[in-house]
């Protein structure tokens, strides 16, 4: 629907456009909170508003561009054999930057394996994300440094961790909030449903942020649900809202509102960011087996970065120098990522036996010693 929508009045000049966006579209698609159309027009929404300075808009733009560039570089590094795998977020930049920028430092984030943009917002050095994809660790950063938990691969598990963490936040009597990311496919997992139940019963300050990128590997969303996912929340007694996941402004506004609700003691919210996985599921995947190019083309017209750029250019939020500088910054980031990854050392063999237990375990000690002796025997032999 979005791509065929007629040009809409400019920012702030019309309530009609916003109201229209809030209603069900003629195609049968359900309502979708939108503040920036695919054509780069600002529209209003009765429930959500946002007013950002030029600097803030540039900030969001920069985040998205750098994230995309980082992501592309990682894909390249995978092709070159430097990474074993990469899960690209291409197309989901607005969903991730908008929601990531809505969080406060003291909030806590529970990501899946694809939240590179959110990690960026949280201040995690992007090179840290690559360790697990290179195979040198299972997650190289300290979750508590940026309140950004490790990537979780087992689908849906982290929704419960986030809920428990939020229960703890509430116990602590502070007004931080927690945000749990998951995908459309994950919505089918029992753990996600149980997270809904627990968070509602304990009124936990958690936002469930579902990036509905239309696909769970090869399965379209209709293999997971026959109604829009945001509606799932209602049956558990908390609000659900669908936002245009390619509209960074709407995502920011909607997520901020949901986090504020959590802070205010009003409990969980489900945000469904309606977006699209532009690339393959991971570098191991071959989407030509299960989806058509036309679908991708349709979504290209809704590109999250392009539409913000259109707005910024038309409204003069940035000059050419900004875009040129950003290009250079992107190149520098890509180079740094490349350099860091290439020089990332393999872990020491003994790392197999480290950090299995915080307080030690006799068998680990025994096996470590045996392993060391065995390794040493080769060293002796080769001497």
């Amino acid at each position: 629907m979005d791509s065929t929508a007629a040009r809409k009045p400019r920012r702030g000049s019309s309530k009609r456009a916003g109201t229209k966006a809030a209603k069900a579209a003629p195609s049968g698609e359900p309502e979708l909170v939108q503040l920036l159309t695919p054509e780069g027009e600002r529209v209003e929404h009765p429930d959500y508003s946002i007013d950002l300075s030029s600097e803030e808009l540039r900030g969001l733009y920069r985040d998205m561009v750098l994230t995309r560039r980082f992501d592309a570089e990682a894909t390249t590094l995978q092709r070159q054999g430097e990474l074993g795998l990469w899960a690209s977020l291409l197309g989901q930049e607005a969903a991730q930057i908008g929601s990531g920028r809505a969080t406060r430092d003291d909030d806590y984030v529970f990501p899946t394996y694809r939240e590179h943009g959110v990690a960026w917002c949280r201040g995690v050095d992007p090179t840290n994300l690559l360790g697990m994809f290179r195979g040198v660790n299972h997650g190289g950063w300290d979750p508590n440094e940026n309140n950004f938990h490790l990537y979780t691969i087992v689908i849906g598990s982290q929704a419960l961790h986030a809920t428990g963490y939020a229960m703890g936040v509430a116990k602590d009597g502070v007004d931080s909030a927690v945000i749990a990311y998951f995908g459309d496919g994950a919505s089918s997992q029992g753990d996600v449903a149980e997270a809904f139940t627990f968070s509602a019963v304990y009124n936990a300050p958690v936002v469930f942020f579902c990036q509905n990128n239309q696909w769970a590997i090869s399965e379209p969303t209709d293999r997971q649900t026959r109604v829009p996912l945001y509606q799932r929340a209602q049956g558990y007694g908390f609000p659900g809202v669908r936002v245009d996941g390619n509209d960074v402004l709407a995502v920011l506004a909607v997520t901020k509102a949901a986090l504020d609700r959590a802070r205010a003691g009003e409990g969980p919210t489900l945000v469904e960011a309606f977006t699209y996985r532009m690339g393959a599921h991971t570098t191991s995947d071959d989407p030509t087996r299960y989806r058509r190019d036309e679908e991708r083309e349709l979504w290209e017209a809704k590109d999250p970065i392009l539409r913000l750029r259109t707005l910024m250019e038309r409204e003069g939020h940035a000059d050419e120098a900004f875009f040129t500088a950003l290009e250079a910054e992107s190149d520098a980031l890509a180079k740094r990522v490349r350099d860091v990854v290439r020089s990332m050392p393999d872990p020491d063999h003994m790392a197999i036996f480290e950090n299995i237990y915080a307080d030690g375990h006799a068998l680990v000690d025994e096996e470590r010693a045996q392993f060391a002796a065995y390794q040493a025997s080769f060293a002796e032999e080769s001497r």
């Binding site: 997650g139 979750p143 428990g164 307080d359």
Partner: protein, 326 residues
């Protein structure tokens, strides 16, 4: 009070109470742990005294219980989770195995998961299906977990204290058929290491190794054997992961014969691990193969058959006789 005669159930209750008193981060979570005090009354009175915020009746969803306990632990709490019966831990198995057990390693040691999972386990209580199982091997096989089981009130108290204080996830199996067995608990003692076996009875002819509910059975077997002039040593292993192989080895080097007894099915059970490793360690000491007495490769049977299914005095003595016959 310092020394008191307590049942195992009461000792666990006292231990939970102590933990709640000593550390404001300790939480109790589970189904019916609040007003009811748990189906075995092990958490009796705790919600009343510590409030609903610290003794938490949860929704009926084990994965949710363990999953939120993990989140609470990440926030700095120390949840002690109750699983109502052994057979109901499996909905939580994924969270335990893929998250709880691995998160410390996944984070390169950055996060700690001080979560205790209490599971009343084992049979002989005349219950319906799923209420009498011994799934300890399914946890002990998984790195990142510690698996323990007390056999008496003092261990019930102290091992739980130590489990709660540990920064590692601990699966604490409670021998439910022994809940009402009483013995002395010194709540001011200085406990020994958590994962060390205890010589429950000294002997010279053969070692019986057991844990949890089977320790008593083995002590009874040893007493009966003594009347026939056989001197059996009984080891209370206390810990199924890690296993205190040093103590077993030391005992077997003296007695030269070992029988391992547990309620869980023998096939792929803890007795297999003990037999394999002790045989390797004591190959020239053993006069007989390590024999195992345990459950059959069968679902836990209807309760009218449990006496036949479970290892009892006679089956232990039968194995002892077979081992001594070598």
């Amino acid at each position: 009070m310092s020394v008191e005669k307590l049942s195992i159930a009461k000792a666990i209750n006292a231990s939970l109470r102590t933990a709640l008193e000593n550390d404001p981060k300790v939480l109790i979570m589970g189904e019916d742990v609040g007003k009811l005090g748990g189906v075995f009354r092990v958490t009796d009175g705790l919600q009343k005294d510590f409030g609903e915020d610290r003794v938490i009746d949860t929704p009926l969803a084990e994965s949710g219980i363990v999953g939120t306990a993990i989140g609470l632990a990440l926030r700095g709490y120390r949840p002690v989770v109750e699983i109502q019966f052994d057979g109901f831990v499996f909905p939580a198995y994924d969270q335990i195995v893929t998250q709880l057990a691995k998160m410390h390693a996944r984070s390169l040691g950055k996060v700690k998961l001080p979560v205790v999972i209490r599971i009343p386990y084992g049979g002989a209580i005349g219950a319906v299906e799923h209420h009498s199982e011994s799934p300890e091997a399914l946890f002990a096989h998984v790195a990142g977990l510690k698996v323990i089981s007390p056999s008496n009130a003092s261990d019930a108290y102290w091992m739980l204290q130590q489990a709660i204080q540990s920064d590692d996830p601990v699966i604490y199996f409670e021998p439910k058929r022994r809940y009402h067995d009483k013995s002395e608990v010194d709540t001011e003692a200085i406990p020994g290491p958590l994962h060390t076996a205890r010589v429950a009875r000294e002997g010279t002819d053969l070692t019986l190794a057991a844990y949890g509910p089977m320790v008593k059975t083995c002590l009874e077997a040893a007493a009966a054997a003594a009347e026939e002039g056989k001197s059996l040593e009984v080891l209370d292993l206390r810990s199924m992961s890690p296993i205190d192989f040093d103590s077993i080895q030391a005992s077997v080097e003296r007695t030269r014969r070992l029988v391992v007894v547990h309620e869980a099915p023998v096939f792929y059970g803890s007795g297999a691990e003990i037999a394999a490793r002790i045989t390797e360690r004591c190959f020239y000491h053993l006069e007989a193969p390590v024999l195992r007495v345990g459950g059959y490769h069968a679902p836990y049977p209807p309760s009218r058959l449990e006496d036949e299914y479970l290892p009892g005095l006679d089956r232990v003595l039968d194995a002892v006789d077979r081992a001594l016959a070598y």
